[in-house]
């Protein structure tokens, strides 16, 4: 809210001293951020304080940031094509290449997955799970590795296990590092308990994890045809360093130079969390892992990779207090903004949580009704989410636009829900995705997938492709500016193209002499509007002549149609 206020003040100021933004240089865009350079020593493990993180993010940090007067500016790690380069945080998958439904369903899993048809006693339990809501244990299987198995909360059969598996696929497809989480049905006889195991609760109480404890865990699990249902999370490769923070940098990781709250992929993650109602998207549901170059030398050299994990709250997790459960996704647990507004307005505003109704299925209050992606909130503020700009949201939405209905269905199928629940979840996710697309493809240009050839440029209108707006070709407009002073030139001519693709031909300039390739005289800017979004797609090009065609140097999506 503070950022929005300051941003509004900024926008209200008259624009003075406005000049041309610096030109994009004639170079390949930065597609990979080299932040995986080996470092000699593994960073120290970070302890994430549970209570302080909540109190800090809900109360103390917002107050301090208010007085800091630091509204969100542009994110730091955005390349010339308005995209996020691959890094130890993010790999462009769905947004960068054809990413099939099969790949979506595979997620971060390789061929090492649990096989429930193995002989009895072949899953050795070597560790109990030490905290409460979703009890479980770890199994160690020679040749396959280690897997953490967790049940659903007792009062929410099937939901959390399926949600963990589905959300991990979605996060992976979007581009985050996410573990391989899969729903497994197995016969209890597969399990073999290592003797002498203990577990320590969050309250510091240590108890034996013996056969009786195991049976208590299994008794809580839901079952189908006598088989136990749990979610199996593959153990992350590397040495765990604790969660990453959504603000600042790790001082002891030389590769970590961008304040996390200014990383576009973390800011934009707000929309993925909103889509799935992953309200528990806080630092404790993340993990840094030190990947050693030599597996035998766990302390280095190596690099840090950043994971998202623990998505079990997605799709309608509830708390014991119904008043909180209704608010999840609409408001933070303690939301001073709403509290103050509701007090001052004497409750005149009807809130969405007052209209919340249980769906009747396993997903409790999770629905598309009243889903407002812009207003979505996690259980408490996330420092990166609160700095998400319109550009960050639009970037993430362009990725989500590629999550078509087939891919959504492919992801949902891994949850192994009953048919009615699977259908409900698929339809709800499609509706919620469409709400995000409507909101974030409608202000900044949704034109994407830009390609350049000798004759001109083409792009795909993701809003038309997703049928958020009518797929007609009448409303496109284009404007061209050339040369050192970026003088307006002849309007480009549209080439016949099948919607949602739009193409336009560009005329090559006749240049005196043979200026260097990166000469400002060769520079041109093309604005393309789609008739619906307020802002254009702005392409920065170098005209290298008839023989070599045009070279795309930069892409911008300004908020309005103003001359470059």
């Amino acid at each position: 809210m503070v950022s929005k206020l300051a941003l509004a003040l900024l926008l209200a100021l008259p624009v003075v001293g406005c000049g041309h933004a610096p030109r994009f240089p004639l170079r390949e865009p930065l597609l990979r951020d080299d932040d995986q350079k080996p470092i000699e020593t593994a960073p120290e493990e970070y302890y994430s304080p549970f209570a302080w993180d909540g109190a800090n993010q809900m109360v103390f940090r917002p107050i301090a940031r208010f007085f800091a007067v630091d509204p969100a500016g542009p994110p730091t790690n955005v390349n010339a094509f308005d995209e996020v380069p691959d890094s130890s945080w993010f790999e462009n998958r769905l947004g960068a290449r054809a990413f099939s439904s099969t790949e979506v369903a595979r997620g971060g899993c390789d061929d090492k997955i649990l096989n429930p048809s193995m002989p009895d006693g072949s899953w050795l339990i070597d560790k109990g799970k030490d905290n409460g809501a979703n009890p479980g244990f770890r199994v160690n299987i020679p040749g396959l590795g280690k897997f953490m198995l967790k049940t659903d909360p007792e009062t929410e059969p099937d939901r959390a296990t399926g949600a963990t598996a589905i959300a991990s696929r979605i996060y992976h497809a979007v581009g985050y590092h996410a573990p391989c989480d899969s729903v497994v049905y197995f016969r209890p006889a597969l399990l073999k308990l290592e003797p002498g195991l203990t577990v320590t609760t969050n309250q510091g109480v240590t108890t034996a994890f013996d056969q009786a404890a195991l049976e208590r865990v299994l008794a809580r699990a839901s079952r189908r045809a006598g088989l136990v249902r749990m979610v199996a999370s593959s153990w992350l490769p590397g040495r765990p360093l604790g969660p990453f923070r959504y603000e600042g940098v790790r001082d002891d990781d030389p590769n970590d130079v961008i304040p996390h709250e200014d990383r576009r992929e973390l800011r934009g993650g707000r929309l993925v969390a909103a889509w799935l109602n992953h309200f528990d998207s806080r630092e404790q549901n993340s993990m840094d892992v030190f990947v050693a170059l030599d597996p035998k030398r766990k302390h280095g050299p190596g690099f840090v990779r950043h994971y998202m994990l623990d998505f079990g709250d997605s799709f309608g997790s509830v708390w014991s207090d119904d008043g909180i459960s209704r608010r999840l996704g609409h408001a933070s647990v303690l939301d001073f903004g709403y509290l103050a507004t509701d007090f001052v307005t004497l409750g005149a505003i009807e809130r969405p949580w007052e209209r919340a109704r249980r769906t009747g299925g396993v997903f409790n209050y999770f629905s598309a009704r009243d889903f407002d992606p812009e207003a979505w909130r996690g259980e408490y503020p996330n420092p990166a989410f609160v700095r998400m700009t319109e550009q960050d949201g639009a970037w993430m939405t362009r990725i989500l636009a590629r999550f078509d209905d087939r891919r959504v269905a492919a992801a949902v199928a891994v949850g192994q829900y009953d048919p009615a629940s699977e259908r409900y979840l698929t339809e709800t996710l499609i509706s919620r995705r469409n709400a995000i697309l409507r909101r974030y493809l409608g202000r900044l240009s949704p034109l994407s997938e830009v390609s350049v050839d000798r004759a001109g440029v083409c792009a795909v209108d993701l809003a038309r492709a997703a049928r958020i707006i009518p797929n007609e070709a009448l409303s496109f407009r284009a404007y061209l500016y050339r040369g050192t002073k970026l003088e307006p030139g002849l309007k480009p001519r549209f080439r016949a193209a099948r919607g949602p693709r739009v193409c336009l031909d560009l005329k090559h300039a006749v240049l005196a002499g043979a200026p260097p390739d990166d000469s400002p005289e060769r520079y041109l800017v093309v604005d393309v509007t789609n008739g619906y979004a307020q802002g254009p797609l702005r392409l920065h090009l170098y005209d290298l002549g008839t023989a070599r065609g045009f070279r795309l140097a930069g892409i911008e999506r300004p908020e309005g149609l103003v001359r470059p």
């Binding site: 930065l30 007085f67 800091a68 007067v69």
Partner: protein, 450 residues
Amino acid sequence: MTGRRRRLLSGLALASACILSRSEAASAAEPEKRPVPDYDGRGDRPTSPQRALLWVPRVVLFPAYFVSEYLIRRPLGFVITAAEKAELPATLYDFFAFGPDHKSGVVPFGFIDLGFQPSIGLYGFWDDAGFEGHDLRIRGSTGGSDWLSFTLTERFRFSRRLDLMLTATARRRPDFAFYGVGPDTRESSLSRYSSDTLDARLQTRVGFGGSSWLETGSGYRGAAFGQGDHNGERTVAEAVRNGDFAEPPGFRDGYRAGFSRAKLVLDTRASEQGSATGGRVELEAEHGADLGRAPASGWLRYGGTLGGFLDLGDSGRVVGLSLTTLLADPLGSRPVPFTELVTLGGAGLLPGFRDGRLYDRSALVATLRYSWPIWIWLNGSLQAATGNVFGERLAGLRPGRARLSAAVGIESSGSRDSIFQALVGFGSETFENGAELESLRIVIGARNGF
């Protein structure tokens, strides 16, 4: 317990060490960072004029930022993080909410009612103490060596609708306010008295039909009064000497009374979930007899409330209108002790007035109240009320003698035992005297709701 203490101490030690070693750790050589890549190839952008202008509020707000960031947030973060590492929160939680199911515990609280001494205390609860359906509540608070209060409640829940409760309260306070008896007393007549009271009672409550219930009980109540002491304000004796009012009845000798009481509430609203639209009738009566002076000294207090409530759209936004009359009659030749008279102000009717502001033989009050949810466990509350105390059986009642009271605030919802309240209220003179605002009341804290 030893383990807890050890963890507590080690947590504090770790927190201190963490703060002390921070500067040392910060200066230790960190590995050299790689340069920040030029992601879009355009280098560093010049600062825009709009962005540059942000330095104006930044400089202005810097002191507040410095305090909130470096004197509060960061030190607190180090301390709490260190405490969490040492499992201190779990230890504290175990300490304050003990028992395997955390059915018992201790909660600290504070209470500020402007114009009285603030108090702090501990509230203890133990559900199913010893056996199911047996609850204990203990509440001790102090506002200084001469301000002490202690309440013990034992409740036996025989069923959802029937319980029996034993309550004993002992209280010593030097800061009670007294302004005289009657509808026209003045704010300027404020005087202070002290009181030692003991109240012990046994009562049963039977619930029936939604939120209706009948409560009956009997007990003992004794009070001894003395001259007050609060911020050097004058005492009752000084006000009497000054001719502001006559000595209040019963002030000199106090009283020791047995009492019996009954209260019947007929409420058409559902007891828990659902619409709060409905009607409510309350009838109550209490008979008291001064054990040392019977039958010359006794009294009967009685009254009733008629109310209607409209839950707007069944959304928890409730408008209520109620009319209350309260009466107190002596049963012997002696007058009713002043603290057994009808009183308005404080936590009762006309909350814009201080506790003890209005005393007399009867009262009539109309209250329009609106409450609305502002959080899961908090409601906003706005009320306007008019009324006053009057003489014997509403003698002297006329519209011009009414006062106005208005209050706005927030209060916790759901708990019968303890209520959090933050309230700002105003009270006025009588209409005949111009209805000017004469009192401001500010309350924040947890008060007893047994």
